[in-house]
Symmetry: C3
Subunit: 449 residues, 3 copies
């Protein structure tokens, strides 16, 4: 949903502001609930053009036809003209070519970066499907940007560290995350690299797990020779890619089969809803494998998740018990509240694990809480992704790490209890364990944001 006021404001800016090339609104503030707490960098206009791009005065004046654009830019920026020439836009199966001005406008003083809505004016189905992902909730592509930027932990950290997040999360606000401009080739988006540019590393090692699977290795060995112009349907590909399974038939959303929710929380994998999703999975798997095999394979993540959560809950219990015995520093009242979090400053509390608040586990927590965060968000998710993508080797390694995390948390918990025992014995006050990142952290960051 677009905030109507923001749309109006954007429209107003686009219509009234003076000229052209690319530019950042120098007075721009951050968007959303926490927008007052930070100011966008210049690069933000590329991550979220609709919110931050502002046409700047440009030395080239006038309105141009597509042919005129191309004639000049053939010399100035030949690469993008070459890309366009190879695109469907330049030689559509029907109708006129879609030239530069169709997306960027024809007035060189008011050029714009196209938004998903612009693309959607022709590619309606794809745009609608993509937007529909919203109803499956987070994690999801359409919510990626607002959840990343308009979030407590975004303003709670030095910008140099969180700006990085936007490079990928901008998938919500621009189509060329997957379809590289200006060729916009469906064939490109069918290849795993289109997805893996973002989907790699913790907490979502999709790159690592896909390429460690037999599917991925087959792609690596022979993918260069496959015919990528074919649609993502049965019999067209010797092995699946990200899009083949998650965007079957080219459908532009990936959440309609999400049973295990990224591994991020425990789910009952056998609810009625999940049985429907399971059937959707089986329908994809049986493009190549038999039904019995597919069904049996899909029970492997069910089992693996059970084991992972057994270990995660043990760690959570340890932390909860520490907290109730007042062995975690800082205690609720001693932690710097999140900026702008009125409730948090009045009624602060430690948060442990997903249910008590995901964002809280990133920063401004005690060391042992950060350990839990990494156990849950990095090693647990790696275990799940390995299983989901057929790279059980990675699952097995991740479970070893989960076991080690649990031991580490238990060891540290024992140390904290021992420390407290000594304090009582000696009557003296041992220095409390510091925050993982020393406070007053938020103040420092606010300066830098």
């Amino acid at each position: 949903m677009f905030h109507p006021l923001r749309v109006l404001l954007a429209a107003f800016i686009l219509l009234t502001v003076t000229p052209a090339n690319a530019g950042m609104d120098k007075d721009a503030k951050g968007t959303g609930l926490y927008g007052d707490e930070w100011r966008p960098d210049a690069v933000h206009e590329y991550w979220d053009p609709e919110a931050y791009h502002k046409s700047e005065t440009d030395l080239v004046e006038g309105r141009f036809t597509g042919e005129e654009c191309i004639e000049c830019h053939e010399g100035i920026t030949p690469g993008i003209v070459k890309d366009w020439r190879q695109s469907r836009h330049s030689s559509p199966t029907s109708g006129e070519p879609v030239t530069c001005n169709a997306c960027h406008g024809d007035d060189h003083q008011k050029l714009r970066f196209p938004s998903p809505a612009d693309c959607g004016s022709c590619h309606e189905n794809q745009h609608t499907e993509f937007q529909e992902e919203k109803r499956y909730g987070f994690p999801g592509h359409t919510l990626a940007m607002e959840r990343a930027v308009d979030a407590k932990h975004f303003v709670d950290k030095p910008k140099a560290e969180v700006t990085a997040c936007l490079q990928c999360h901008s998938v919500a606000s621009k189509c060329d995350s997957c379809h590289t401009r200006h060729r916009f080739n469906a064939a490109e988006a069918r290849r795993p690299e289109a997805c893996l540019t973002c989907h790699s590393g913790p907490p979502h090692p999709d790159d690592e797990t896909y390429f460690a699977s037999a599917h991925g290795q087959k792609y690596l060995a022979e993918g260069a020779d496959w015919d990528w112009s074919k649609p993502l349907t049965k019999g067209n590909y010797p092995a699946p890619t990200c899009a083949y399974c998650h965007m079957t038939g080219g459908k532009h959303q990936v959440a309609d089969k999400a049973i295990w929710k990224f591994g991020i929380r425990e789910v009952n994998p056998k609810t009625a809803e999940n049985e429907v999703k399971r059937k959707r999975w089986i329908a994809v798997c049986t493009d190549c494998h038999e039904e019995g095999e597919s069904r049996e394979w899909l029970e492997e993540p069910d089992d693996e998740r059970k084991r992972a959560w057994t270990q995660l809950y043990k760690a959570e219990d340890e932390l909860k018990s520490l907290r109730s015995d007042d062995h975690i520093y800082p205690a609720a009242g001693e932690r710097p509240p999140y900026p702008t979090d009125w409730l948090d400053s009045v009624l602060p509390f430690e948060r442990i694990g997903f249910y008590e608040g995901q964002a809280s586990a990133f920063y401004n927590v005690s060391e042992i809480e950060r350990d839990y965060f990494e156990m849950w968000y990095f090693n647990n998710l790696a275990a799940y992704k390995g299983m989901a993508h057929g790279a059980e080797k990675i699952t097995s390694e991740a479970h070893v790490r989960l076991n080690q995390d649990l031991e580490k948390i238990r060891r540290k918990a024992a140390e904290l209890r021992e420390l407290s025992r000594k304090e009582i014995e000696s009557g003296s006050n041992v220095d409390p364990k510091p925050l993982w990142l020393h406070g007053p952290y938020s103040d420092i960051n606010r300066e830098q944001n």
Copy 2:
């Protein structure tokens, strides 16, 4: 091409049948010495079909010719039919095509998954060569399955963690680990990906070390353009792949040049037997390099291994000394015995390093023993693999980690001794260090297996 009647039949089957033509023997027990201690998952039938696959009642009845199989499956599973059409099986240089029923049987009620012996009935040389690897002992492909499954540590761990091992170790019981069904292309198996699907990550970073070498980078840059239909012999490839060096000329076993034994134990690299193996290596290297260079390069791992074992023995000595002073908990008599290990329950002992029992070092050990295990099994093997595959950079990094491991073990040993000193001084009993994974571990696992 399609007989209309058959199309109708296919349509009828598709509309009425719930396919269930693979099945798991629901009463199956694990195989081997420890088989009573665990029960196979449904997916086991794919890892070891001969042991666990059982034909299930199928709604499709009758016996079919290969042509009939293909006609139906062209619609149901077009991908595998397409694979088969591109295979040598469909158009052999002499004789009749090898169709579905040759490997799966012709009775749809009794379909089978082919075993290596089935493949060997035609591909006799390859099957015999592969089986011969057995006489070179473990590690090796032919023993991979029984050593992984029929092992103390397999039953000692939660199944969700060890099932993963079978995905790769199943190479012993099925040929399509390397030759993807149903194309079974020799060209595929010549490419490194065929091997690296399994050979990556600790303790065998063959993927990481090959691709970090000049050989691997040349493959990455240009391999897509090489002619993979050519045999693995002198002059056919601009750079070697796994199979080029380890399965020279296409010979189906890889152990006949194994001098350094994977880095897993110290070897005398200059025994008469190893000199023979060294000559075999030089014969391969001189396909591209000169003899002097090859010989000199092969001495690099000799030196590197010496240094690695210098550090490993220092760590072992530390542990042995701790043990003899009774500073390792649990001591011999206090450790939960391996399940089914009669000898271990009567005469328990700590095991340090390879010679005292590899399996023991995985689980149910004290933290410092686990540290040694990771030093030996992960960082030591990475050091070796880097050297063996021409990625000395990785060797150098791994040696830094070996040094750090040794320091960590020394530091913890000092702490354990200090702890003990304090106990004696104070007369009190400090809580002993717990197992790396808390017991009674085996009991928990037995429930889950």
Copy 3:
């Protein structure tokens, strides 16, 4: 095609000769200031042929024309002959073919390995450009060998660990690090793999960061289909490679745009010199992107570096404060001096961070100093490289690690102070913290070098 007489000759040679045509000067000593402290391995002759290669008596006698070389070697080493046949050397656009003897000499008793100067005798521009990199200082290719070998830390470490360094640092003394012999293809060197064979892993994860960027992913997906015979200029490539940006137009040196100096030390990114370099960057970026965007992007590393150095300086301060309070063991006078370092043995001092001496931070330091080294050299450089190569995800991960490093250093510093406090309180002497690697380290190493 084969003259029967020559075939006979070749057969005769193969039957009677024990080839030994490469050789190491067995009496060779190391080169440079520290050369007396170590002896080269046999493989050194390949890393630095001019310094260490020595022609050995060879059973093949006589002087040969290029045609004669090729006729024999077609049978003995067909791969390299095939490579040569595909090279520009075998069919130059003008003049006679450049055959074996042009580079190796024609006397089989005095064969040589060609040096960069040999290549430069024809490829003068490239050689001169490459040598010019020297004036930009270290890090740089031309100084890579002497700085790596002729260095305190080279003789201070077991050779098995440092020999590895030479595999890549030999880029200074041979051209086939990038242009694989004997094809010497410019097209090969244009691809990223030519660089990434060396540029991967800590402290220079160029491989990891390039391939995690949109540029790298585009190459991975489609690079196999690009026309690599084209020069590295505007419009020829859909995405850039290492060489495209760092060796624009094929210029043979990479240092003329080095603003941030590898991330290794703090720089003022806005000096007059750096503004010139920045303009050079913008000139490259605008081959594909618009100027405003390019300029804005280049400010991202400016900001990121500021944040990284904020954290690094906090860690340095912690160490300096520890040192001034005499809490670092060994103190200045207690550390084993570097071999051959006269000044260090008379006036020893701890070194912290880059400005106080990079080499010193590798080995023979206390644990907390080693922690700082890894913070600075591994995680800091990864943060920079991620930003420089458009893989901000890696930057973000690296900053988390930088934060954790700082916490670890602070924690350890607190422990060292606490330890000291207890000493004073109790009047007793607690055992000092050992060196990261126990001394007398240098003595052990001198034996092994």
